[in-house]
């Protein structure tokens, strides 16, 4: 685990002795911080996690969570001057169209400067996400990250992308593959494309992997996101395994990712099928808060999230067997089993879904 200086500015939430002793040193770092609130939190090695929640530490971290701006910016060349200048330059570049968009529509600048900072608030402060096994992701070069899908609204996909950007040393972007429904919807489709997503189809997946990207896919699709709360953390069927053949054809390793926490954000108690059919969506969820509380019901419940990347499954030796259904199904099963087992171990580490 590498805690760089920029994000090591807040006391850890863990109650291990090691973590507590580190606190003073980290506080001194906080004063020299210059960037925007860095999307970080302290993650200790996985072993430290079993210690469980404790409330007095939780209050301790709030005051130091972000340096307060000075009331008056009084020094020439101070932090806020710099920020205002950078912000204006950003605005000017955006208004003049001086930025790059790749062939999939990915706008790296907009993602880094606007989307990710917003998502980090959810990721860090709302869901208190902890990430394990980042070392299983390639530093550069391609990998297919396969995750479990849940949560009624696919927040797990964007949180996975945020986690990956936050935790990889060179802040890599996860290129998500989305259902065509996402690309049918105005506005949503453009947000998806600009943040690096594209339609889940083999040509796009293979093109991205050949370009050395990290590609994120959720083979359960709507069966996973739209399952009811009673079915939580039970992996659904993995479809035709198209993701496996994409990895095989390009010889890219598959990294299984288990995500715990998304199931509780919008616990789906019922599905009003006729209404869903009427609206042309795969399901119409009824949660404890939606639709009863109206727009307030759209607020995700603050569950505790754990994300674990498992060791990569190499596929380079199977490139010529991409069209063999047996190889594809076996590999898909292996990925599915890995995710399911990791989910169970993660759930044991998190006895209370809404704990710290």
């Amino acid at each position: 685990m590498t805690d760089d200086q920029g994000r090591a500015d807040r006391p850890p939430r863990k109650t291990t002795h090691k973590a507590v002793r580190r606190t003073p040193a980290q506080k001194t770092n906080g004063t020299s911080r210059t960037g925007l609130p860095a999307g970080g939190f302290t993650v200790d090695p996985p072993i430290a996690n079993g210690s469980g929640p404790s409330s007095h530490q939780h209050n301790g971290h709030k005051p130091s969570s972000g340096p307060l701006p000075p009331a008056v910016a009084d020094e020439p060349g101070d932090v806020w001057d710099d920020r205002v200048a950078k912000g204006l330059a950003f605005l000017r570049r955006r208004l003049a169209g001086d930025y790059e968009v790749d062939e999939f529509g990915f706008d790296a600048e907009l993602t880094d400067k606007v989307f990710l900072p917003l998502l980090r608030l959810l990721y860090r402060d709302w869901f208190r996400t902890e990430v394990f096994g980042v070392e299983n992701l390639p530093v550069d070069g391609p990998a297919l990250v396969v995750g479990n899908h849940s949560g009624t609204v696919a927040l797990d996909a964007v949180m996975l992308a945020t986690a990956l950007n936050d935790r990889t040393p060179n802040h890599r972007h996860l290129r998500l593959l989305g259902a065509d429904l996402v690309f049918r919807m105005p506005i949503v489709s453009e947000l998806a494309r600009k943040s690096g997503g594209t339609v889940a189809c083999n040509p796009d997946a293979e093109r991205l992997l050949r370009g050395g990207e990290l590609v994120g896919v959720f083979p359960e699709g709507f069966k996973g996101v739209g399952k009811q709360y009673a079915q939580r953390y039970k992996l659904q069927r993995f479809g035709r395994g198209g993701f496996v053949s994409a990895a095989l054809r390009t010889g890219t390793p598959i990294v299984p990712a288990a995500i715990v926490g998304a199931e509780e954000i919008y616990p789906m108690l019922a599905d009003i099928k006729p209404l869903a059919r009427l609206l042309g969506i795969p399901y119409f969820p009824v949660t404890p808060t939606f639709p009863w509380l109206g727009p307030l019901g759209l607020l995700p419940l603050p569950s505790k999230w754990l994300i674990e990347f498992s060791p990569p499954i190499p596929t380079a030796h199977l490139t010529d067997q991409a069209d063999d259904p047996l190889v594809v199904f076996n590999l898909a099963d292996q990925v599915r089993e890995t995710i399911q087992q990791t989910l169970h171990t993660l759930l044991e580490r998190r006895p209370d879904p809404f704990g710290r």
């Binding site: 008056v72 910016a73 009084d74 001057d81 205002v84 200048a85 204006l88 330059a89 605005l91 000017r92 955006r94 208004l95 003049a96 169209g97 001086d98 930025y99 968009v101 790749d102 062939e103 999939f104 529509g105 706008d107 065509d180 690309f183 049918r184 919807m185 105005p186 506005i187 489709s189 453009e190 494309r193 600009k194 594209t198 339609v199 189809c201 040509p203 796009d204 093109r207």
Partner: protein, 353 residues
């Protein structure tokens, strides 16, 4: 692969920008014998001087068989495609007549021409259709998922179907199909350049399509090379890279006005019914789905890299500075003014004890 000098070449559509320029380029090339321009319309005065070295024949594609037979043409360059209905000249019916029936006639004439060795067809990336399930980047072997609703795109599918039939029947003829993205350049006048030249530009609400452009000079170069050398097959011809529509509008210094999609479709129908040249469903689909193609095959086979989409668009912007509403310099000035304002405000605050 280099081929021997070509005898006579027939170019259709010489009354339009691309056709006139291609014909002029071919006529100026010493390796080519005669260049004959076939077009039912007289070229407008701005191109007329280009066609000095080109023999011109007035006639539609129906007369192609006599022209091709009389000339013993060795190469036919078919560029006479209408990309949008022209209400002054018969609207959509005439457009389909020219695109589909015209191509059928021309290919029938080509099939009977014994000395014909080469056929260069203008096509369009509209051949890939428009669907939400489309891959982000089309390669030449991507099949359209559904029949497009735009007239031009349907014509293109028909035309490419006829060329496939022609290839089967005349295996001795080198057929090159060039799928062009929309042309752009400082001097061209197309639907798209007129669109971006307006101060206020309508877009589809909630959609920001990825667009690619091809500089018109590169289009002329590619057609020229296709006539001189043998490049059998179908090729995407586009400038590398992508501009999103909003980005292109900003670079041109225009103001986007988002309109809801059903509204834009209805408006385009209305405009067409009123007999004004407007945006068809082809344009609406392009502005909803966008279209990006892979040009690896073109660059490898033609050994020529067209200038990038961004460069081609910059050239267009340079030629249309006049209509810009929000210029780059103005933005830079505004930025300076705000920063200076802050500095002054702080200086005043500091002066107070």
């Amino acid at each position: 692969m280099r081929s021997r000098p070509t005898g006579s070449v027939v170019v259709t559509g010489v009354s339009r920008f691309l056709g006139a320029h291609v014909a002029a380029r071919l006529a100026a090339d010493g390796r080519i014998g005669r260049v004959v321009g076939l077009d039912p319309h007289a070229p407008p005065p701005e191109f007329a001087h280009l066609l000095d070295g080109v023999e011109q024949v007035r006639g539609d594609a129906g007369s192609a068989s006599t022209v091709i037979a009389d000339l013993e043409a060795e190469a036919v360059v078919h560029l006479a495609l209408a990309t949008a209905p022209d209400p002054q000249n018969g609207g959509r019916a005439a457009m389909k007549e020219q695109n589909v029936i015209g191509t059928m006639h021309l290919l029938a004439a080509c099939q009977k021409a014994p000395r014909l060795r080469k056929l260069v067809m203008r096509s369009s990336t509209a051949a890939y259709g428009a669907s939400f399930r489309d891959p982000a980047v089309f390669t030449e072997d991507t099949e359209p998922r559904e029949v497009p609703r735009g007239g031009f795109a349907r014509d293109i599918l028909d035309i490419e179907g006829y060329v496939r039939g022609f290839r089967r029947r005349r295996t001795d003829v080198t057929a090159t199909v060039l799928r062009f993205t929309p042309f752009i350049g400082s001097g061209t006048d197309t639907m798209l350049t007129r669109y971006f030249a307006r101060p206020v530009v309508p877009t589809v609400l909630g959609r920001d399509p990825r667009l690619q452009f091809l500089h018109i000079d590169d289009a002329i170069e590619i057609v020229h090379r296709a006539v001189l050398d043998d490049h059998p097959g179908t090729f995407n011809v586009a400038g590398a890279g992508v501009l999103s529509l909003s980005q292109a509008i900003r670079r041109a210094g225009r103001i986007p006005v988002p309109v809801i999609e059903p509204g834009l479709s209805a408006a385009s129908n209305l405009v067409r019914n009123l007999g004004r040249s407007g945006y068809g469903l082809d344009q609406v689909d392009l502005f909803v789905h966008g279209r990006v193609v892979d040009t690896t095959k073109l660059v490898q086979e033609f050994d020529y890299t067209p200038r990038t989409t961004a460069d081609a668009f910059d050239d267009f912007v340079a030629g249309h500075r006049g209509g810009a509403v929000l210029r780059r310099e103005q933005l830079a000035l505004a930025e300076r003014a705000i920063l200076d304002g802050i500095r002054q405000a702080r200086a005043t605050v500091q002066e107070k004890p």
